[in-house]
């Protein structure tokens, strides 16, 4: 499969008076496959928007290379088949929804009213086509934003914090639209710090902190490596000492034994030994790793590394 | 990169094109046709602070405030402060006709020394100022008239220019009828007798029409005045033989202007004290009203002209008057055929700096400036006047004037060196001390005007 986005040592350096030269994006190597929803994660100021702007040649890299849909960044041709929804965008408020779409479509050299109307329908704004943008709610503005990003039937969409500042219902609507995009075969590049959203829809993620990618991979692989919690009753306290599982945390309280052990160790052996000691298994709970844990852990690790 | 260099080349080419277009095609046309008529002269003489001050802010508003201030300086006699202010006010608001008129008058008349002689070094400035005002306000007669008045009355020696400016004023519709009459005496003094008469006739017809339409007192008065003026003038022209000259029988008749009368001019200038000169001399005209002009000025001064200077020094209002130049002009009044006048220049060193080594004294009499009863004898061009020693037909071409020239050095005027104790004086060779009695035959006799 071809890469939708590829960067090699992409770097953006800003000169700051107090800090000197700061690499906002530091030798970034990014790889996004076609047809996937890619989550680009990182805390505020990590360099997410800077990376997107470089990919769209709104700003220029200090060094390194990048390709979007196989074309070097800066090539205007590729702009015909990509689209971008910036974070908290503003639209010309005096225009109606339909006028706004007509304006953006004219930037592609198109003049297709029917298509614009269909897109309004698609984002559920058909009834509000003649309202001006100033009368739109935030969720409606975000939906019209998505509609404009679909004008050119793009192969690749850049969505910067697409659900930022929206209420839960609007969240769901946007999320459903994004999932539809993938089903239509589009590549979606989402930059976000709202992990629960990304966790639900992304195929792959990259975590960026201080301009560097610190984790990149399939969500299922990154979240691989959970733990089990086994709780048993009617056991002697001395049983505690017989549990010899590496990296396990064993505790005994109120006649209950709690074993917190890594996935991959022999769970069955533990259960067998509990049963042979006439103990009662109360629960066996698999605890999968959550993206949030991974994120917090990763960011903390890199920050400590940087501090050292 | 290639695209950028193409753009840069285009930029450079366009830059040259615009520069050429402006410098060669637009600027000269703008200057000729569209420039505010103050441009060019406007800023000269203003110090940079005033210039900058004028560049910002509300022009007319500031002009108004400044004019109030200038007026208070006039009252204090602080003319050095006034000049730049007037300049600034008119530059800010070139349509302030009154500021031009009064400003010009102040500049021309009011820079006076302790003996009330005005500083004539400022006259070219006043003239240029008037001309600028007229250029900026071409729709009204006022500044044309005021500038003409400066020539007619203040300079009083070059009526050609007075005529020129007043003819311009006449072309403006708003000139009041009473003022139009003045052009006729200007014509006369310029020797254009026929034009003077024609104008009177024309104005008379107009006045009659006006009086018919509206017999207000003012209208009747103007009509009657013109009528009287025409009568008097015709009588005079007959007596002086002008009509005879026009008809060609002047030689045959007895006219007041025949034969030319010898005025017997002589003068002695004595430096009585440093920068104080006493002028004594003779002039054989008994009727009162003779004023002989005396000018003391740097020898070889720029813009020199006998018995004065070239007053019209171009249209640029240059507030930088030649401060190093000494130029004094005074009138010597004749009483009982003699004049005796002490001119004190010792108290006004800014007006009379005496920086040059050598000075000339010029004595000048032109019948054109004389009162009518004396002109009756001498005529407009001096045909009825002569002087054995000092008749001059060159300093004012076409006119017979009396002109004499003496010289003094700075040391003499300021009583320095050997002149500290010795009293310097210069005199014409024919000068005779006043105790010698004059012959009665020297007296002018004009029949009908003065019984002797």
């Amino acid at each position: 499969m071809a890469a939708a986005i590829e960067t090699k040592k992409l770097t953006k350096t800003y000169k700051s008076r107090s800090l000197g030269a700061v690499n906002v994006v530091d030798e970034l190597d990014l790889h996004v496959e076609e047809g996937e929803i890619f989550g680009f994660l990182g805390p505020n100021g990590a360099g997410k928007t800077t990376t997107i702007k470089m990919l769209l040649s709104i700003i220029y890299p200090t060094s390194g290379e990048g390709w979007v849909l196989g074309r070097e960044i800066g090539d205007m041709e590729v702009h015909k088949v990509i689209s971008y929804l910036p974070e908290r965008p503003y639209y010309y408020e005096y225009m109606t929804g339909l006028e706004l779409l007509m304006f953006y479509s004219s930037l592609f050299g198109m003049k297709d009213v029917e298509r614009c109307k269909k897109l309004l329908e698609r984002v559920n704004l058909a009834g509000d086509a003649s309202k001006t943008i100033s009368q739109y709610s935030k969720g409606m503005q975000q939906r019209i934003g998505l509609a404009q990003s679909l004008l050119n039937d793009p192969k690749l969409l850049f969505l910067d914090e697409p659900t930022g500042g929206l209420d839960p219902i609007a969240h769901t609507e946007i999320r459903d639209l994004i999932l539809q995009f993938r089903d239509e075969g589009r590549t979606v590049f989402i930059s976000s710090h709202e992990l629960s959203e990304v966790e639900r829809i992304c195929d792959r993620v990259a975590i960026i902190n201080r301009g560097k990618i610190v984790r990149q991979g399939k969500l299922s692989e990154l979240l691989h490596g959970g733990r089990f919690e086994v709780i048993a009753e009617n056991l002697d306290r001395s049983f505690e000492d017989t549990v010899k599982i590496p990296d396990a945390i064993v505790s005994y309280a109120n006649g209950r034994l709690i074993v917190d052990m890594p996935e991959g160790e022999d769970l069955n052996a533990l259960i067998d030994s509990i049963r042979s000691a006439k103990g009662t298994i109360v629960s066996v709970i698999p605890r999968r790793k959550r993206l949030e844990d991974l994120f917090v852990q990763t960011v903390r690790d890199t920050n400590q590394g940087a501090a050292r | 990169m290639k695209k950028r260099s193409v753009l840069l080349a285009a930029l450079a080419a366009l830059f040259l094109v615009q520069a050429g277009l402006h410098a060669f095609a637009i600027y000269p046309r703008w200057k000729r046709d569209y420039a505010p008529k103050t441009a060019g002269q406007s800023a000269t003489g203003l110090d940079p602070a005033q210039f900058l001050f004028a560049l910002v802010g509300f022009k007319e508003f500031i002009a108004g405030i400044l004019w109030v201030r200038a007026d208070s300086f006039f009252e204090q006699g602080n003319y050095d402060a006034v000049l730049p202010l007037i300049r600034l006010v008119t530059w800010l608001d070139p349509h302030q006709i009154d500021v031009y008129a009064t400003g010009m008058w102040h500049i021309g008349y009011n820079f006076t020394d302790t003996e009330q002689r005005s500083d004539r070094r400022y006259i070219p400035v006043a003239l240029a100022f008037g001309a600028e005002g007229a250029r900026n306000n071409p729709n009204t007669y006022e500044l044309f008239f005021e500038t003409g008045w400066m020539w007619y009355h203040k300079i009083d020696d070059n009526y050609e220019n007075a005529v020129r400016w007043w003819e311009e004023a006449m072309k403006r519709k708003d000139m009041p009828p009473a003022r139009k009459n003045l052009l006729s005496p200007a014509y006369q003094r310029n020797g254009q007798i026929q034009e003077a008469l024609n104008l009177y006739y024309k104005l008379y017809d107009e006045a009659v029409e006006r009086a018919k339409k509206d017999n207000a007192f003012g209208n009747l008065q103007i009509r009657d005045t013109i009528e009287r003026n025409i009568d008097t003038m015709l009588v005079r022209m007959v007596q002086r033989g002008w009509i005879a000259q026009q008809k060609g029988y002047y030689d045959q008749g007895q006219y007041d202007t025949k034969p030319p009368f010898d005025v017997g001019f002589s003068v002695r200038a004595t430096v009585e004290e440093p920068a104080v000169i006493r002028f004594q001399g003779t002039w054989n005209v008994l009727p009162v009203g003779t004023r002989i002009r005396v000018v003391l000025k740097d020898k070889n001064m720029p813009n020199d002209q006998p018995a004065g200077m070239i007053w019209d020094q171009g249209s640029a209002v240059d507030l930088e008057v030649p401060v190093g130049l000494t130029f004094m002009q005074e009138q010597l009044f004749v009483r009982n055929r003699r004049f005796d006048k002490r001119v004190d220049m010792s108290n006004d060193r800014t007006m009379y700096p005496f920086k040059a080594e050598n000075y000339v004294l010029e004595f000048y009499y032109n019948p054109r400036s004389a009162p009518p009863h004396i002109q009756d004898k001498f005529g407009y061009n001096g045909e009825g006047m002569t002087d054995k020693n000092f008749l001059n037909t060159e300093v004012r071409p076409g006119q017979r004037v009396v002109f004499a020239r003496l010289e003094l050095t700075r040391d003499q005027i300021l009583r320095r060196g050997r002149w500290m104790d010795e009293v310097p004086f210069v005199q014409t060779s024919n000068y005779v001390a006043p105790n010698v009695r004059q012959e009665k035959s020297d007296v002018i006799i004009v029949p009908g005007i003065l019984a002797n």
Partner: protein, 261 residues
């Protein structure tokens, strides 16, 4: 081309809805319509002063509108991030810049047209004289070229300075440019000026955008002056304006192309 037209038309749409511009325009219109009552005019000065005052109001208002309109033209787009949605489309930066500029001068033209209409109407109502209306109407046309040049100056500066700095920079340049011929005259024609200063004045005279060339109101205010070949003058000054606008726009594009937005 369609992109430029689209950007220009949205710029017009935005501009004619901007409150601050509408307020300036309203003040200008108000002053124009009450101009006859402003100065206690004496009859002899009435025509002269009225014409000059009204043209002055028109020019000043247009200049303020031109500057206020254009200094925010690009920065607002960046601040509101509309520029990102536009530049992520297949729109070249020069197209964006030209579109914004064309829109700005179209909006300016509309507003000036309105003011000129009010000016001519006021003049007519007061003087009941149609014979000079054509002559007076020439001035706003020259002013329009002047204001387009001013707008180009502001657009050029807006590619690299902040709006507030730009306001004073463009305003200052307009001021100097309007006095340029007079200032140049002062130096070039004064016999006392040092030759080096004269040379500098000549260089500045051909470098700085010259707004003074469009101040043609003097013969209009003082009729009776004979103008030789006004058509040639109009052509030359328009060509000058177009060339200088091109210079500024190319300069703006060169800078804006490298600019990080």
């Amino acid at each position: 081309m369609r992109a430029i037209v689209a950007i220009a038309s949205t710029t017009v749409g935005e501009a004619i809805r901007r409150k601050v511009l509408l307020i300036i325009l309203l003040i200008g219109l108000l002053f124009l319509s009450i101009a006859p009552g402003l100065g206690g005019l004496s009859p002899r000065q009435e025509t002269t002063v009225l014409t000059s005052m009204m043209l002055g109001i028109l020019q000043l208002t247009s200049a303020v509108i031109a500057i206020v309109l254009t200094v925010y033209l690009i920065p607002t787009e960046i601040e509101r991030r509309t520029i990102y949605t536009i530049l992520s489309k297949p729109v070249q930066r020069w197209q964006f810049l030209v579109g914004k500029y064309v829109g700005a001068i179209l909006a300016l033209g509309l507003m000036m047209l309105l003011m000129s209409g009010v000016l001519l109407l006021t003049y007519y109502l007061l003087q009941r004289d149609v014979s000079r209306l054509g002559e007076i109407a020439k001035a706003p046309l020259f002013y329009f070229v002047q204001m387009s040049l001013l707008a180009a100056v502001a657009v050029f500066f807006s590619t690299f300075v902040s709006p507030l700095v730009n306001f004073f920079l463009s305003g200052g340049l307009y001021f100097i440019g309007s006095m340029l011929n007079t200032i140049y005259d002062t130096f070039a024609n004064s016999p006392t000026t040092n030759p080096a200063v004269k040379a500098v004045a000549s260089v500045i005279n051909v470098i700085v955008p010259n707004f003074a060339n469009y101040n043609i109101q003097n013969p209009i205010i003082n009729p009776g002056q004979q103008i030789q070949n006004p058509t040639a003058y109009a052509l030359f000054t328009t060509a000058y304006g177009v060339f200088y606008i091109l210079i500024l726009l190319i300069g703006a594009i060169l800078i804006f192309d490298k600019r990080e937005v």
